[in-house]
């Protein structure tokens, strides 16, 4: 009988030294082949011919202070941020609050409150996140209504037709997102229902609103909706826009959620059934959390699209952030400074959309239970 050998695993060795370090990285990733070298050089050429002049114009030579255009006319080589500075209230809060300095505290308070609730939520270790979320999604909209719309507690009612600027963009997007998510989830579940009636209703709803351009919906909400109600019943223009946006958005959210639901293996629902969990418990604890996790990127994608699409409300005469910046840049005092107006509006849109995008990536990472620590 032969002797039994003992298995000894071979020790791990370090990789060859020429595959490590920054120089190896540059050689491999930037100049690895002829086409990669050409692309690298082209990129550096374009970067250095466009970016430094832009920074010079937008930051180094820019005009920041002053009260009228004379400052900017004296220094045309730099951007005229004086314009934004002077018209900031109008662009951010709209005409009603910009023209009533006594009421400026209202939108200011609302945005401070919003960020005070939101920012702690972005940090992993904040205690009481559940309550902060409830405050942000449940209490904040109510506070928004009483403070910004007013009409009670001695706060004068604001005229919604004069709401505008970022405040309007924010209000439309916030309401759209807040209402579209639960409606969209119900629609997605309905579309996968075993009951033909519920399924048909959801399919028709989703396909109708998804197949219609938002601009058409807003136009119809503005022009046609009043025709369906008896004379004298007047719907607020902003409310009409909110309803239209919510209908539209919920159809998109529904499809994003349905994509997630479809990706959950059948075995998940079966295992839940085998444990005796009924439909709603199964949905709430098992399928929906997993489906939402999968569909975070596409849900946030539709939210980002919505945030920017709110500028379409200009079709019904509402001046959101973009349109307000444009309007300000066309006033007699600031004619010709469109670029600064668009850049500022663009920057705010970008900041919010990028924030949403980063938050969704963060959430995806946090919810990824498949990583091995």
């Amino acid at each position: 009988m032969s002797e039994v050998k003992t298995f000894v695993p071979a020790p791990d060795r370090a990789p060859p030294s020429n595959t490590l370090g920054p120089i190896a990285w540059v050689r491999e990733n930037l100049f690895g082949s002829l086409s990669s070298t050409v692309a690298t050089l082209l990129f550096f050429y374009l970067f250095f011919s466009y970016v430094p002049p832009f920074i010079e114009w937008a930051l180094i030579n820019a005009n920041w202070t002053g009260a009228d255009r004379s400052v900017c006319e004296a220094n045309p080589a730099g951007a005229c941020w004086t314009f934004i500075n002077v018209r900031l209230e109008q662009i951010l809060f709209g005409l009603y609050f910009a023209s009533n300095p006594d009421e400026l505290w209202r939108p200011t308070f609302i945005f401070i409150l919003f960020f005070a609730l939101l920012l702690p939520l972005l940090f992993e270790k904040t205690p009481g996140k559940k309550w902060l979320t409830i405050a942000l999604l449940g209490v904040f909209p109510v506070v928004f209504y009483f403070v910004v719309y007013g009409g009670s507690f001695g706060i004068p009612q604001s005229n919604t037709t004069q709401w505008g600027g970022f405040l309007l963009t924010f209000a439309l997007a916030f309401v759209g997102i807040l209402l579209a998510l639960p409606i969209g989830i119900l629609l997605a579940l309905g579309r996968r229902s075993e009951l033909p009636v519920i399924r048909s209703i959801c399919v028709v709803y989703i396909e109708f609103w998804r197949g219609t351009p938002l601009i058409t919906i807003l136009f119809m909400a503005s022009v046609m909706l009043p025709l369906f109600f008896p004379a004298g019943v007047e719907f607020d223009k902003v409310v009409r826009a909110m309803i239209g946006i919510t209908m539209f958005q919920s159809a998109y959210t529904a499809e994003a959620v349905r994509g997630g639901l479809a990706a959950i293996p059948k075995g998940q629902a079966e295992a839940a059934m085998a444990l005796g969990l009924g439909y709603w418990k199964r949905t709430i604890f098992i399928t929906l959390p997993q489906a939402l996790k999968i569909s975070i990127p596409s849900i946030v994608n539709t939210f980002i699209a919505l945030f920017k699409d709110t500028s379409l409300v200009s079709i019904i005469g509402l001046l959101d952030l973009l349109n307000m910046a444009q309007t300000a840049a066309r006033s007699v005092e600031w004619k010709g400074y469109d670029i600064e107006g668009y850049l500022f509006a663009g920057f705010i849109y970008w900041a919010f959309c990028y924030g949403m995008s980063r938050y969704s990536q963060n959430l995806e990472r946090k919810l990824d239970t498949n990583r091995r620590n």
Binding site: E270, M273, A274, L275, T369, N370, R371
Partner: protein, 257 residues
Amino acid sequence: MTTDTQMASAELGDTIIKIDGLNKWYGQFHVLKDIDLDVKRGERIVICGPSGSGKSTLIRCINRLETHQEGSIVVDGIELTEDTKHINDIRREVGMVFQHFNLFPHLTVLENCTLAPIWVRKTPKREAEETAMRYLERVKIPEQANKYPGQLSGGQQQRVAIARSLCMNPRVMLFDEPTSALDPEMIAEVLDVMVGLAEDGMTMLCVTHEMGFARKVANRVIFMDGGQIVEQNEPEEFFNNPQNDRTQLFLSQILQH
């Protein structure tokens, strides 16, 4: 480990599952044909047969993961009908272990085990967690309680799946090819747990091709083909002296290698 004969001759109780004249179709395809099956309390049945023979479908009918078109299934005195309440009543008494484990990947091992007791049986959370830890110890992985299923090996996942079912304190356990998706080295650890369950007197219906397991713990082995029960017998007779030529062919093929 008790011997084969001891296990086989253990006292059996009254009938817990009674299947009469069961027929099922998938569209035009007749998957189950006139199945009659009585399962006694404490009985351990192994069901084998070629793929497509209807063995999985049969046990999935018992907890209504599949609906049947003809015949009756009575589990612990409750007849399976369209009535959702009856279905859920039966499902909470019948545990099931799947080929692909079907653990909930977004919940920890402990949460997997406590979800149903808390929300279906209304057990207080602390009590449910104590029960869960007891069963996790029994399947020898209490140290994994706070990990997610994706961090465990296949064999560990299947043991968690068994613990999850046991937490509902079921009267019957259904196993649907519990070791078919496992690497060879992990099959043994899952079978060990199943043997332990059998020794404790659990009523088990097990679809498997682990013939060693069948010999060791089954009171009865059922062979199915073409949606029918071809032959059933106690393991010793079944393996040594199969009566039907279809059974002989099947056994010669799976025991050959």
